[in-house]
Amino acid sequence: MVCKNIAGPNLKLRNVHFHLGNQILLKDISVEFTRGLWYGIAGPNGGGKSTLIKTILGLNNHQGSITLDWPSSPELEGAGNIGYIPQLLPFDESLPISVRDYLLMSLSTKPVWFKRGLPIEVENALEHIQLKDKLERRIGDLSGGERQRLMLATALLQNPGLLILDEPMTGLDEQGKKDSLELLNRFKVAGGTILMIEHDWGLIREHCNQTFWVDKTIREVDPSQIQITQAPSGDVGAVS
């Protein structure tokens, strides 16, 4: 599912500013992300973490500049591709879209009207994430953990150089977390760049090379210096 040599990009944000009506959501964001590294993005609820990654994905009409610098070596794969895992959101269970439909539609630009076979690498990936027997299940009926595993597999099957993840571990059990983190580590080691919004400081400490705190503005934080004020839910209330 993960290539050996990945064309992860360098990302440069300069004075990025975004507002909706009178409300300023992002203010003067200047930051650089380097290829082959895993970045953690933390911050309070409503602080603009998701807005920041959607801005990087080109969905918000922002001010300032965002540059993605992709390596051009022919041995590297995934240049120009961005994989994105959105925050876990509920799906309408009445929508008649199965896991197979979803995969076919996600991985092919040709219209998928009726059921067709899946490519062998997709079948293997599904086996790897233990979803092969749930191909005909409606996507709205999957559990939170199953959905996140499917999202990660789909993102990786799109052969990305950059992965943008919004709380990818939500809903996953311990084994699911372990498997997902192992895949992400392989992606990073192969040269991919990862930006990950995460609330779990333990996970950030263990896996991220660098961490940023986003609360309208951005600043680098040292995860080992974080004080956890709301331990039970894992939410971080303050930074010391």
């Binding site: 909706l20 009506g21 994905l57 969905l59 994989g83 994105y84 895992i85 959105p86 925050q87 959101l89 799906f91 309408d92 009445s94 929508l95 008649p96 879209i97 199965s98 439909d101 979803y102 539609m105 996600s106 991985l107 092919s108 630009t109 040709k110 219209p111 998928v112 009207w113 009726f114 059921k115 409606r138 996507i139 999202m151 789909t154 993102a155 799109q158």
Partner: protein
């Protein structure tokens, strides 16, 4: 053959049913019924403007519906509550349209035929417009099928798969405006949304995949149109409302039948 008004009526109703049914599935899935209603209501303003500028009604309606739909979409993105916005826009457009129609001096128009359709008055040029519009909507839906479905499931998910949900929304909006413009002659401004929604909602319990739902909705819409036409001929009732009444009866019968089925046999999706 096209000289017979009944043949033209059959062809017109089949054309509208073909375009409305698959689009109606998206309206049902995306819960856009009120959005469709607002777009359809604004058609009255389009009719008034076309008549006062002596342009084809189809064109005026298409342009006003598109402006309406795009305005609503862009205002809702700015954080204004969608239902309030639609309530304001929908009824304002209808009221302003009706006022504008009353200003037209020297033009005698049969308002009822625009509000409830006048399928028996469909001419050859209307047929051309209806089938052209229907073909365009079907081709758009078929070519953009993946993106439309994924962004219906979840806009962020569509994005994750490389589609642009805003583009897909725009395609739906344009298709909706086209269907409203071509359906005015057959079912009229006030009943267009019923033609979109009722066959799709009926098909929902009979289908297990999105493609199947679009096809079943199409078959139901065509059947209801033909039965409605025949019914209105026999009973001497207004055609548009008769077609929608048949759609409603089918909806009740299918849903009741489905509920009465043993659980094992309910392979549908409702």
């Amino acid at each position: 053959m096209f000289d017979d008004f009944l043949v033209r009526a059959v062809l017109a109703s089949v054309g509208v049913a073909l375009a409305a049914a698959p689009l109606g599935c998206f309206v049902v899935w995306r819960r856009m019924a009120y959005f469709g209603d607002a777009t359809a209501h604004s058609a009255v303003l389009g009719i008034a403007l076309s008549l006062s500028f002596s342009t084809p009604v189809f064109l005026g309606v298409l342009i006003v519906c598109m402006i309406m739909a795009i305005t609503v979409s862009s205002l809702s993105e700015r954080g204004i509550a969608m239902d309030t916005l639609l309530g304001v826009m929908s009824h304002s457009a209808l009221a302003i349209g009706l006022v504008a129609v009353s200003f037209l001096s020297g033009v005698r128009i049969d308002l009822m035929s625009y509000l409830f359709g006048d399928i028996l008055a469909v001419g050859k040029s209307d047929l051309f417009i209806i089938w052209g519009g229907a073909a365009l909507v079907l081709v758009l839906a078929a070519l953009r099928w993946n993106g439309l479905l994924l962004s219906t499931l979840n806009p962020d998910l569509a994005l994750a798969s490389g589609y642009k949900p805003k583009h897909e929304q725009l395609i739906l909006t344009i298709s909706l405006a086209i269907v409203v413009a071509v359906a005015i002659k057959t079912v009229g401004v006030l009943l267009i949304v019923a033609m979109l929604i009722i066959p799709a909602a009926t098909a929902r319990v009979l289908s297990s995949t999105p493609e199947m739902m679009a096809i079943v909705a199409g078959v139901l819409a065509i059947s209801a149109s033909l039965i409605g036409l025949r019914g209105s001929y026999v009973l001497d009732t207004p055609t548009g409302p008769t077609i929608i009444s048949v759609c409603a009866i089918l909806f009740v019968v299918v849903n009741l039948g489905y509920r009465l089925l043993p659980k094992k046999l309910r392979k549908g999706i409702s």
